[in-house]
Amino acid sequence: MKMLSVRDLSVAFGGVLALSEVSFDVAEGEIVGIIGPNGAGKTTLLNTISGLSRASQGEIHFAGTRITGRRPTEIAALGLGRTFQMSQLFPGMTVLENVMTGLHLRTRASALAAAFRTRGMRAEEEEAAGKAWQALAYVGMERFAHRPGTELSFGQQRIVEIARTLVSEPKLVLLDEPAVGLSVTRVAELDGLLRRIRDERGVTFVMIEHVVRLVMDVCDRVVVLNYGMKIEDGRPEEVSANGQVIEAYLGSGFDAARRSS
């Protein structure tokens, strides 16, 4: 089954074309990497899929539903999770409360129910805390549950962010550079976590990543963007052998430049 289908997607900001007629599919249970030089349109692609940016042209289907032009809230409600390049943990909350916020769409209590602490609201709150705790335990972060999110290191915050999306049982998670700032051995552990989530929970991933090691190890398929266009789409080893991809990253004058220096 197709989890995500992007067809002829173009996104323009003013006169600048950030994405131009990009098409690709993601099957259920796949881990797909998006790579490309800076400014290639990778984050714009994720933003458009999650509804934060508007498509000027083209269509996006998610789990059989057309989501082009829908609001981020609606798309999230369909089961799309997202993490960000800069950590987006809420500094004013504890780690557990951050993960509980991931359950926003799975909880119902109204403002009145909350203000008057109805029995249903209290039961729901306990249940949410339990689920959030489990999600933290699943990624091995439950020890930090009651600490402010800001006390955690960069890498820890990213793992909590993954737990925060995981707790709502998403079908597809978009990761924006999950390994940025991690050392090689840490990357290998992140690699293991993503595979484990995919295998045990059936979550599909689309991730932007610059860390070649993670892309090569964990991705089933890689989509390469350059100047807003898709220039390659294939298995990691195919992509790394592609001359066009090397050119996009290093420039066509790479050999000449190396000889002269």
Binding site: A76, G92, M93, M100, H104, M141, F154, G181, E189, L190
Partner: protein
């Protein structure tokens, strides 16, 4: 059971103290204490909007005025009894607050501040110039509070009415923020984009925050009417806004206890400075700037170092979710591979 003194006990003690004030204090102190109760309501409402939901709006003084005028005019113009006019005034403030700020909901930061300030100026202008309804700049007198058949005079009557209403509103706000609603507010304040992608509807929760602060300000206005016995536009001007703003900054943004402390402290200060009228603005302005610079999260940050003073954004049984052993990063690092992956400080990670 361990004897604890935390924020709940502090609030309980404060309200007990306020309950016995009529027996021990003179009418002037009683009036000041009553004023403090109203400002606690105002600060709570403003803090829900600004401190929790992060919407920097400047219309709260206007909402306060609409609540007061709504109540007074319903009494004087339509002859409604106070106990019907007061909820009417409060609801009017909530409705106008929500409706008028609706265009402002799509704005943020300085644009939101400016547009709500413009609204506040506009409502001030309406109070001054719509003479046929509002009696203009001279204001108007409202009848004394009549709580008969209860055997209680107008001064004590409004005091205890304020006491009960304030206590209820403190408890409701306290409960509200410790829920998915409070978390949605803070999520919007701390990161709109992340909040959105977790499915939090920005417009809906911003509107809710505006409605709540409008309602709280409206209730305070409805109680202000019989306390003063006289209403005029000047009590609801920009200085009123600065007073309220300085209360939540001094007490603590994003804190219920902070709202209560800030309101109490600043009302006391306001009264101490009453004899030196012209210095009020200067002192309040200086305090506001000093706190913004040196203690931006207010007095409560000092109290939060004491056990029992934290104000969670959730309400579950914490004892069920405790990991045995020290919860230090180093201990966690030894425990699981993944935590170890994450436990090292960010600066230690190579790119």
């Amino acid at each position: 059971m361990r004897l604890a003194f935390g924020s709940r006990q502090f609030l309980a003690l404060l309200f007990l103290g306020l309950a016995i004030i009529p027996w021990v204090a003179n009418p002037y102190i009683l009036y000041v204490a009553n004023l403090a109760l109203l400002y606690i309501i105002l600060a709570l409402g403003l803090n829900l909007l600004v401190g929790y939901a992060g919407q920097f709006a400047l219309a709260n003084a206007a909402m306060f005025g609409i609540g007061a005028y709504g109540t007074g005019l319903l009494e004087v113009r339509l002859g409604l009894p106070y106990l019907l006019a007061a909820p009417g005034g409060a609801l009017l403030a909530m409705l106008i607050g929500t409706a008028i700020t609706f265009p402002a909901l799509r704005l943020s930061g300085i644009y939101l501040a400016l547009s709500t300030l413009a609204f506040a100026m506009f409502s001030q202008w309406v109070l001054l110039h719509w003479y046929s309804v509002t009696y203009g700049g001279g204001g108007f007198r409202v009848p004394n509070l009549d709580l008969s058949p209860l055997p209680i005079g107008p001064d004590l009557g409004i005091y205890y009415l304020s006491w009960v209403v304030t206590l209820v509103l403190v408890v409701l706000a306290w409960s509200l923020v410790r829920s998915r609603i409070g978390r949605a507010f803070v999520a919007i304040r701390d990161g709109e984009i992340a909040a959105q992608s977790l499915g939090i509807d920005l417009l809906r929760y911003k509107a809710l925050a505006f409605a709540l602060s409008g309602f709280y300000a409206g209730v305070a206005g409805a109680l202000y009417t019989p306390l003063l016995g006289y209403i005029s536009p000047e009590g609801f001007d920009l200085f009123q806004m600065i007073i309220q703003k300085s209360m939540i900054v001094v007490g603590g943004m994003g804190s219920i206890v902070g709202s209560v402390i800030g309101a109490t402290v600043m009302v006391a200060l306001l009264e101490l400075l009453r004899e030196f009228k012209s210095t009020q603005e200067i002192v309040f302005g200086s305090i506001l700037i000093a706190f913004v610079l040196f203690r931006p999260r207010g007095i409560v940050t000092l109290l939060r170092r004491l056990p029992g003073w934290e104000e969670p954004l959730s309400s579950f049984d914490r004892r069920r979710y405790v990991v045995s052993g020290p919860a230090s990063p180093a201990a966690a690092a030894a425990a699981t591979g993944l935590a170890r992956a994450a436990a090292e400080p960010a600066r230690g990670e190579g790119r």
